[in-house]
């Protein structure tokens, strides 16, 4: 199964219910979605979302010797849109994560590889003025 999120393509263990629910192994959650389970809940960077106590037993389950999160239920709760075609799932942006930064005008951080093969992280350019410019061949 493939998960597309945050510009990355990740192949993860397959577990999809008959009703189309997406389950993700907790160990694969950070690489595949950016979220990480912590004592306070699911965290994406500094943003943490507690799981509802009433749902915890349903959303986190043991199967095949692994612990899994019912990701589609979680995504529905946080308003993250997703779409599936066959064994490929595509996750949209997380509304709260995007808005927390943009509401106060903080440039969203990203990490890319430049044409010389060097890593370019926007936050590494703090202390400099940055002009970010997109173009295309079309």
């Amino acid at each position: 199964m493939i998960i597309l999120a945050n510009g990355k393509t990740n192949e993860v263990a397959q577990r999809t219910d008959a009703d189309g629910t997406l389950w993700v192994r907790l160990g694969e959650l950070p690489a595949a979605t950016g979220w990480q389970m912590k004592p306070q809940g699911a965290c994406l960077g500094e943003l943490c979302v507690p799981l509802p106590e009433s749902k915890r037993g349903e959303w986190i389950a043991d199967a095949d010797d692994w612990v899994w999160l019912n990701y589609s239920e979680f995504a529905d709760m946080i308003g993250q849109k997703y779409v599936r075609d066959g064994d490929v799932w595509s996750l949209g942006s997380v509304p709260a994560a995007r808005q927390v930064g943009l509401e106060c005008g903080v440039a969203p951080d990203f990490e890319v590889t430049d044409r010389n093969g060097d890593t370019l992280r926007l936050s590494d350019l703090r202390g400099h003025k940055v002009v970010l410019f997109t173009w295309s061949s079309w």
Binding site: G7, E103, A107
Partner: protein, 220 residues
């Protein structure tokens, strides 16, 4: 940031021709536009020393640019953004072109459910395009375009899947429709002094010197 699902193969010749001295990145999955909420190219943000966005615009060409097609041409952009950028680099927060927090909030406004679903769908289309599944790519490009009809990135990148000629004809047709039937522009106004060619809908025909000479002869 070259935003192009064709990757380096599609954009390297432009980079090579420009020989830029600044950092260059290829962004085949449009991540930067997703993060900044841009819906067209070229787009740009000014980010200050503290990591704060102080300006964000779509349709900011570094200079007036002319694209010829057959016997016609379209002009895009102007010098206003480059001049404003120089002013900001020199004067920082004192530049009159730095946006107020209200103006910025308007540009960085949250996106609705349909647009978020469109984003996920567009990324799915790009995945199938990259893996050679044209049928599924086209299906999801069409779905994303329907969910977010004002997102020109989804439209234009999706059209290139059927070839650059098809994409060029589509953009001329669609922008012509905008000009004739709506008061919308291809690019929102930047508010910069001297901005021009925002509508990108006024093809100038019969402009080649040979045709102009012929027209002059016919007038006699």
């Amino acid at each position: 940031m070259a935003q192009d699902s064709g990757g380096p193969k599609a954009v390297d010749k432009w980079f090579d021709r420009a020989s830029p001295t600044y950092r260059c990145v290829v962004d085949p999955t449009h991540e930067i536009s997703s993060l900044f909420g841009w819906v067209n190219v070229p787009s740009a943000a000014w980010i200050d020393e503290d990591g704060q966005i102080v300006r964000s615009n779509e349709g900011v060409y570094p200079a007036e640019t002319t694209v010829g097609f057959g016997l016609g041409k379209v002009r895009m952009g102007d010098d206003s953004f480059a001049e404003a950028t120089r002013d900001w680099i020199e004067r920082g927060a004192d530049s009159e072109h730095v946006l107020s927090s209200t103006e910025l909030a308007e540009r960085l406004k949250p996106v609705d459910d349909d647009k978020r679903l469109a984003e996920a769908t567009f990324k799915l289309a790009l995945h199938f395009e990259a893996t050679g599944d044209s049928e599924r790519a086209l299906k999801h490009f069409a779905a994303a375009q329907e969910l977010a009809p004002d997102n020109w990135n989804y439209q234009r990148q999706g059209w290139t899947h059927k070839g650059t000629t098809y994409a060029t004809l589509q953009i001329l047709r669609r922008t012509s429709d905008l000009r004739k039937h709506t008061d919308k522009s291809f690019y929102d106004p930047t508010g910069l002094p001297g901005e021009n060619h925002r509508r990108f809908t006024e093809p100038e025909w019969l402009w080649t010197p040979a045709v102009q000479r012929l027209k002059r002869l016919l007038r006699r």
